[in-house]
Each structure stands twice: as C-alpha cells, then as structure tokens.
Point group: D2
Chain length 323, copies 4
C-alpha cells in the first residue's frame, strides 16, 4: 500500500485531531503517502482530498473539533454517491482508508467496502463511548470532564441556595457520560437508559437526603433516559416535593468541544497509529480498539451490532456513595 | 461600633466568599467583633447569626457560591418579618451590617434602615454587572470567563461542522455578559436588551458572513433580549436561511458558579474591606463601589434607580471585528 | 468488624478526598462505624482520631489535597512510636484500618500489622503511578493533565519565539508522568529513568527536527532521569547546538494539587470502596487495585517490591509521532 | 494612508493574537490594506512581510502566543539593520506601523521613526503590566490568573502537609503579578521590588501566623525582589524557623502562555483597534492605552521613561487580609 487517506465523519469529538496526527505521522514513518479527506463522505464524493505532511498536523494535538471537518452525508447513502466517491479515490490513487467516527461512519465504510473493496480500518471517535470493541472511545474522557466541571459549578449554586438540580448530559442511547460525571460530581442519583428508575424512586431518594439534612441534591440525567429528559422528570416530581427548590439545566453542546484531556490525546494517538498499522498489515472492515490496554481489531459488523454494557459496579456505587 | 454582621442575599456570585473574608478579617484588624448571618434575610429573621473569626474564612477565597448561604426572603418583605429581624439583631448586639448582593438586597436594606435605623453598607455581588455606582460587580468577570470558555468549546463544533450557533447567556435586564463574552468569543453578532436588533439585521449579518466564506458563525444572545431568547430568534431566522445548519444552546446555571477569577477575588476583597471601613466611618444606606480604580460610596437609592449603560464602543466593536 | 479508621500518609495526591469519602460512606452503608486519623501515622501516635459521618465528607470529592492531612512520621519508624499508635487505636476501639498512600505508607502498615495484628487494607494514592498491583494510582491522571496544560502553555511561547524547551516533570523513580504528558503535549523527545538516552541522541533528535524546519521543540524530562534533571541536560547540549535558543522550566509542586479529574474521582471512589469492602471481608496486608477494570488485592509485600514497567509501545510512540 | 503593517516584538503575551486580529479587521473595515511582519524587527529587516486578510486571523482570538511570531533583534539596534528594515518597508509600500510589545519594542520604534519618519503607534503587550500610559497591558490578566491557579494548587499541598511555601512569580522590575496573584491566592505575605521588606519582617509574619494556629502559609515573591528570588529568601529564613517545613517553587514560563482571559481579549481588541485608528488619524510615536476606561495616547518617550506605581491600597490590603 503506497497511498492512503484519512477522514473524520459524524459528530466531532475532542481528540480527533490527535488521531489524524497519529495517522499522518505514522504513515510518514512507515514510508506511505497520506491524504486527508475534508468533510467526511461529502468530501470524498466532491474530491476534497488533499495531500498531508508532517507540518499539516503540527500544533493540532491540543485542539478540539476536527481540522479535516466533518459532516453527515445523505449523498453517500445512495449508490450514485458511493460510485462518485470511489472514482474520486481512484483518481487520487488512494488504496486504503482510515475512518475516524462512530456507528454511522463505520456502517458507511462497511457498505462501501462490500461494493468497491477498498480496505478501511476505523478508529472510534465519539464522546458517547457506546461502541463495542474498545474500552474507551476518543472524546469520552474530555466530555466527562467538561460535564463534571459544569456540575462542580452548579453544585456551588445548589449549596448556596439549598436547591435540587436536575442536570441533563449527553448520551442518547447510553448512560456512560451520565454515570461517570454523576459519580465524579457526587450526584445523589444518576438516571441512565440502561436501567429503569421510577418516579417514585426519584422522590424517595430526594426525600431521604432531605431527612438526613442534605440541603442540596444533584440528579444527573442522560438525555436518552426513558422517562424523558431532565425537564420532563423535574416536572413530574415538583408537585410531590413542594418544599424543595428544584431547578433544571441542560449542558448541551459544550460537551463536544474543548482541548482534549491527556487521556484522550494518548488514546487517540494509539488508536490512530493502531488503525494505520492495521491497514498496512492487511486488516480491513475492522475498527481498532483498546481493551485491557491491548490493541485489538473488531469487525465493523460487531462494532455496529453488539452492545457494550455499563459496568454494573458503577451504577451500584452511586447509591452507596450518596448515603 | 463594636459588633457588626455580614450576610449575602439574592443570587450567588463567584467572589462572595472573598468579600465575606475581607469583611471578617477587616473587622478583626480594626478591633471589631464580627458575626455572619446565614441564609440572608431569612436567617436574620430566624436568628441564624453566628460569631466569626479569622479561621471561619480560611481557605474560602477560592470557592464559588457563598459559605453564608443565600436566599430570597418573602418574610422580610412584611413588617412583621423585619420586626423579628430587628429583634434578633438587637438580641445579638449587632450595631451595623454589611450586605452583599444586588438590587433586591439593597432595597430590603434601605427599607429596614428607614424603619429601624441600623446602618448598613452594601457590596455589589451579582454576575450581571448592572448596578449603578461601580464599574464592576463581584462575580461578573468570572461569569464572563465561564461563558467565554463555553463559547470557545462550541466554536470547535461550529467550525468542524460549518454551523451557525445561537448561544444564550445570562442577563435578564442587561447585556454585559453577552457583549463581553461575545467580543471575547469572536462572535459575529451580539444581541442585547440595550439596543434594538431586527430579525432582518440578523439575517443580513449571517448572509454577509456566508458570502465572505465564513463557514461558521456565533450569535450571542442575552436572555433579556427583546426579540426573545436564543431559541425564539433562531426559529425566526431558520426559514429564511435554509442552507445553514443552525443550532441553539443555552448556557444556564454554570455561569453562576466556579472558582472566582483573580479579578473577582481582588475586587471582592477591596469592596468587602471598603464596605466595612465605610460602615466603621459612619457611612450608611450606601453601596461601596470602585469607579476608575477609586473606592466610592453611592446611596442605595441611586444604586437601585439609576441605570449604568454599556460602553457604546463595545457594541460598535463587535461589528468591526467580525468583518 | 464494628469500627474502622482511615488515614492518608506520604505525599498528597488529588483524589485522596474522594477515596476518604468512599471509605466513610461505604462504612456507613455497611453499618460500620468509621473514624478518621489526621496527619497519618503521627496522628495515630498522638491520638488525632475523630469520628466521621456522612456530612464529614460532603463537598470534598472535588477538592485537591487531603482533608485528613498527611505527614511523614519518623516516630512511627521506632518501636516506641508504633506501640503508642497501637494503644491509641485500642483505646478508640479501632479494629481495622484503610491506609491511603504509597510505598512508605504500606511499608509502615506491613510492619505494624506484623507486630500488632491490626488488619489493614491499602488504597494506592500517589501521583507517580509507580505501584505494582494497580493499573493506575489515585492522582496520576490529574497530575498528567496539570503537566500537560503547562506544556500547552509553554508550547505557545516556544512557537512564538522558535525555541527549544526542556521541561522537567515529577517522577523520581518513574517516567509515567513524563511519558504521558510528553505524548499528550506532542513532545519531540521524552527522557525517563526506565530507558537510557544519550546526550548524542538528544542532539540528534533536536538537529533532525531543525532540518525538517521544526522551529520549536519540547523535550520532557522526568526528574529521576539518569543523566540528570532538565537543567543539567540542557547545559550539556547547549554548547553543541549554538544556533538554538534553549530554555528550561521545572513544573514543580503544581503537579500535586488541584481539583481531581473525573478519572481520579471515579478511580478513588472505586478503590476506597474496594479497600473498605476487602477489609470487611477479611482481607489484610494487601492493597486494593484495579487491573483491567477488575478490583484485585495485591499483598503489600509485592506492591512494595515488584516493579510495574511502562508500556514500551508508549515509549516507541513518541519517536513515531514526532517525525 | 493606504497600506500599513503590524508586528509583535519582545516577549510574547496572551492576547497578542486578539490585538493583531483587531488591527487587521479594523484596517479592512476602514478600507486600508494590511500586512503582517513576522519575527518582529528581524522579519522587518529580512522582508518577512505578508499580506493579511480577514481569514488570516480567523480562529486566533483564543490562542496564546503570537501567530506573527516574535524575536529580539540585535540587527535592528544597528543603523545598517534599520536601513534595511526601512528599505523593506518601502519596497512593500508600507506607510505606517502598529507595534505590539513593550519597552524595548517602543524604544526601537521611536529611534526608527526619528531616522526614517515612518509613523508608528504602539499597543502595550507584556504580561508585566509595568508600562506607563495604560491601566493594564495585554497579557497581564491572563498571567495573573495562571499564577493564581498555580497558587491554588500549591495551597492544597501546603494545607495537607502544614507547610510554608515561597512561590516566585514573574516580574523583573515590577510587582504587579505578585501583588495581584498574592491577594487572589490569599498569601500571608507578598514581596515586591517596589517596597522594602526585611528578612526580620518575613520571619515575624510567619511566626505570627504560626501563633494564630495557621498551619500553612504562602509567601509570593516577585522575581525582581531586592532581597533575591524565592530560593534565596527561603534559605535566609530557614535557619531561624526550624520548626517549619519550608518549600520553594518557581512558576516560570507557564505564566506567558495559555488562552487569553476575557479581560485580555477585550482589552487587546480595544487597544489594537485604538492603535490602528490612531495611526489612521495621524498619531505617531505614541502608545495606545486605556486609562479609566478611556482610550488615550501617550508618547513613546513617556511610556518608556515614566514609572507606573502599584496602587498602595493593594500592598496594604495583603497585610489586613492575612490577620
């Protein structure tokens, strides 16, 4: 393999630039030419394919977002779109791809490979951490710390005013960010899609805290929680806890950005290099991951279809630590 | 004056603890006994009045919120409430008060003084910066930096996806946080209650940016903007800018908390000491402020009734800097 | 076991408070009385042993340092000192101990157990991460992020002035902080005690960067590096690289403090709870650790005497990523 | 004036990029062509003069350092060097200059103007804040906050171990950073070049704290303190305070870098625009400054030769607040 390309797709995540950098410098180290595709699959179709060298990624490891930009591509979901993409890659002499992204990114890559046979290796880049085949995804640790810093700030106000706060964090299908930021933030309760919590439970836990003279409480809610978001749940409990001053805040998009944490920069560097070296060694249709500190490759199919459960110890721990 | 008390009231603001600390240590330095009243006027009524010494405020200068806690008191709005408060102060031998808070706090203090004659000097503690009689209020600089850090993070995502973001910051009656965080964040447009912006203006400015190949834009909206909040405004423009990917985020309560900035710690220390020394020197019914780096005292009446305008140079500057 | 005590000893590390909190609340959850011993072994000897309840650890999870304070105790190294410590524990009815600290802490605990038979379980609290029996120690992730943020800041100046910076980070016997902050900071070279680097290598690598038009370079040096600290090494190379503007900075004590990261708060909570539950289940003379996301107990003897090597992939990666 | 250029010179300071951006976009707004000179006076001599447009400064407002790079130029101190610089400017058609820097930068600009008559307006960019003609310089607020965050972290360790820390901050001729970070960090003592402190005073203050059961103390020392740096002073007192555990740390280069604070971004934007508009309005040989929130121009001569004293209230306040 003499020439490869790298792209980012789907939602941006802190550490994607560290991953791009590792792919680019790894390729140079191994004597392979490397191109960057801008705007994900859209750029692949439109030919936004540019040569990269060591300087292209200088001073990017500390930056949030993705210097290659990202996009969600409707065109790539059509056979015509993928045909154009293939022609663009051919005309640039690209023989292999490194795809940085999540579920949707890898689904596209798998279909594309089946049709045109271009080998692709993925690197897991999503703040949600809900990808099977790796203990952690790029951006998760930074997103948790961003959520945690926000919870720390809100705790100042909750304590000063003896309030209860419902705080909604990201995680449409997964409670990873909620559980980690909740434990880290000393939350009294964490509500995640993976486990059922009834409104009665919420009221009970808040009442128990009150009886133990806790004058402020934090409930962290994953956006994908079955009962609804933080606002909905707070509306349900307010009537039954009239003596409590209850507030709601939704952290929103700040969770996606910011300079990546040390953990994410190192993880992203390892996964970028791992994806690249896998590609050069003949891997295809797989995602590079790190499980128990070892580099592993998992088929796109499993990555997309299998579920990575939350460690049940963590869910149990919230309960113990808020006594 | 041999014994005084200090309290915080209204919304909490970063730096209130630095201000309490300056009052307490200043009192000790000047040989005056000092008490803390917890939960603002509610605690004054209920007798939550505790002696404080140098250690009471050790290791608090860096903390957000208020260690004396704050509350909004309905009881203090009644003559009966204020009578009880006065009796509590008398029974504790309190001869003067330092009140840390905003408009509502000082209105209460003014009425209370008119009825019972206890001298009170205020220190301006509110993130909104909308108090006449001081260039800056305690907590404002920290809130602006918190909003700015959030905007920096959102800019990462806006750039990565070529998006337009409407970001709502705090400021019900005032655009101070919006204008400063907007300039600092490199916003294309800042919408504040103090000036009228039409929906046509918003659309024009976003279109102009697009024509100059700006691929992302940030609009900062103060919550008190006349056209409505960020969500409302975004809904109005979306239909007319169909090619743009427009998102909305509301920063919310994170703007109130967090470790105070250096600016706020120093300002709060100066104002706390200034309020205390004013009280000891016979001032009453006034708020301590700093104007042009000089300590000044402004009557509660003026503080509450006069308006401090935003520097028009700042509003003009947003326009110039986003060309 | 009806009554236990917890203490911190040796150098403080961010996350120790989260660990204390988990021990205290875990004990309450399991119906066991819990005391805190202040100032480590010194306080054990002097009887600084205080009852703790749920409120004792409220609002501490986000704090750096240790609320129980720490100390290095010469008295505990003597038989007389340990005899007094035992008598104090007896008089307070303490039946088991949780010790949070590092090598020295566990050595003391092991000797003490051999003499007096009080069961002790350890939790690894040290920023250096050099303890056998756990993948990560409490405080390491925070220290790495602190070092990384400092490197990011210094990179701004290095780039602005086309300079080479030698940055010394903590790690007397171990290069963990150096290797992680170096990779995260995009360092051109990382020098650690675990591998030999010659002065010729240093000069070669800096010269190669120069030839590829890198105008600034960062070399991260662990304080325990065999060739000497950052200042010594920089002095050795300066004469041979006269065209380079070389500077030195030593990060120092800032690496020990600060609010713990999410990773450290969760790790500390798990290890505190793990140590406590081990103690209640009959473990003794062991340290709780987490290896491959599983709670494990390793004998103090092995913890103290075995060496945990740095992942060689990380050392190799620095070289690849700086091409 | 149809074409101007901007450059940064001397030590880098956070906010310089925000200032460059304001000059560039201000020039575009006013219909003037704008060039950037890289590497300060060296680049002026070597012809590193590049056209800039609105995109040249996109996404730079939040970056530390200077995108135009800086340097100290020996060549510009010679008549030959300045002759070459003038020829380069002429050949590029540059009719006026905005110089961002400090004392040395403006001295060079003044001499250059006297010889060749090219009008130059300065903007004060230095973390030291020791320039006459402006209340604050670009970078000062960020440097103070960086120092303060470091002091907060060190306080965690000081408290955990009952230690005294001597912390050295930047400021060769001026105690601005020391006094502000010292007040903000709750230091027991601040030692600055502007006032004399004897070793006996240091010992007295530490002893007094000890008697009041302060178990930890922070002394902030400006690097230009007459008695010597933090290490020297600590060595002098150690012998006389044998019961105290005294440590020293020097914050070093981290104080120069990092994302600028809100205050610095706004100040830099105002000063950049102010310098540009002054230049276009016929000002020359002056520095733009902001005094009492008003834009003012002060001659380079006064800026260089007059001294801006520290507010004596601040020095007195340290003493009061550490009782």
């Amino acid at each position: 393999m003499k020439r490869i390309a790298v792209y980012t797709s789907g939602g941006d995540a802190p550490g994607m630039n560290a991953c791009i950098r590792a792919v680019v410098r790894g390729a140079i180290y191994h004597g392979v030419e490397v191109f960057g595709i801008r705007h994900g699959y859209n750029g692949m179709i439109n030919g936004e394919i540019i040569p990269m060298n060591s300087h292209s990624v200088s001073n990017t490891i500390q930056k949030g977002g993705t210097v290659l930009k990202s996009a969600r591509s409707k065109a790539f979901m059509t056979p015509e779109g993928r045909k154009k993409a293939f022609e663009q890659l051919q005309s640039h002499g690209i023989e292999g791809l490194v795809a940085i992204g999540g579920d949707g990114t890898f689904t596209g890559a798998m279909i594309f490979h089946n049709e045109y046979g271009i080998p692709t290796v993925g690197a897991p880049g999503t703040i949600d951490n809900d990808l099977f085949g790796t203990d952690y995804t790029i951006g998760f640790d930074t997103a948790v710390n961003t959520a945690l810093n926000a919870i720390d700030k809100i705790r100042d106000t909750a304590d000063s005013h003896d309030r209860v706060f419902f705080i909604e964090v990201m995680g449409r299908d997964s409670g990873y960010i909620a559980i980690q930021s909740g434990i880290g933030g000393g939350a009294e309760l964490v509500m995640v899609p993976e486990t059922a919590t009834s409104i009665e439970d919420v009221i009970d836990i808040l009442n128990q805290g009150w009886k133990r003279f806790k004058t402020s409480s934090i409930v962290v809610v994953a956006e994908g929680e079955e009962l609804g978001g933080a606002q909905t749940i707070s509306d349900m409990v307010k009537g039954q806890l009239p003596e409590m001053d209850i507030r709601v805040t939704t952290l929103g998009h700040i969770q996606r950005g910011g300079a990546p944490s040390a953990f994410d920069r190192i993880l992203a560097s390892r996964l970028g290099l791992g994806a690249l070296e896998g590609l050069l060694n003949g891997e295809k249709n797989v995602m590079a991951g790190i499980i128990n500190d070892q580099l592993v490759y998992t088929s796109f199919y499993d990555t997309i279809n299998k579920v990575k459960p939350i460690n049940p110890d963590l869910i149990k721990m919230v309960n113990i630590l808020s006594v």
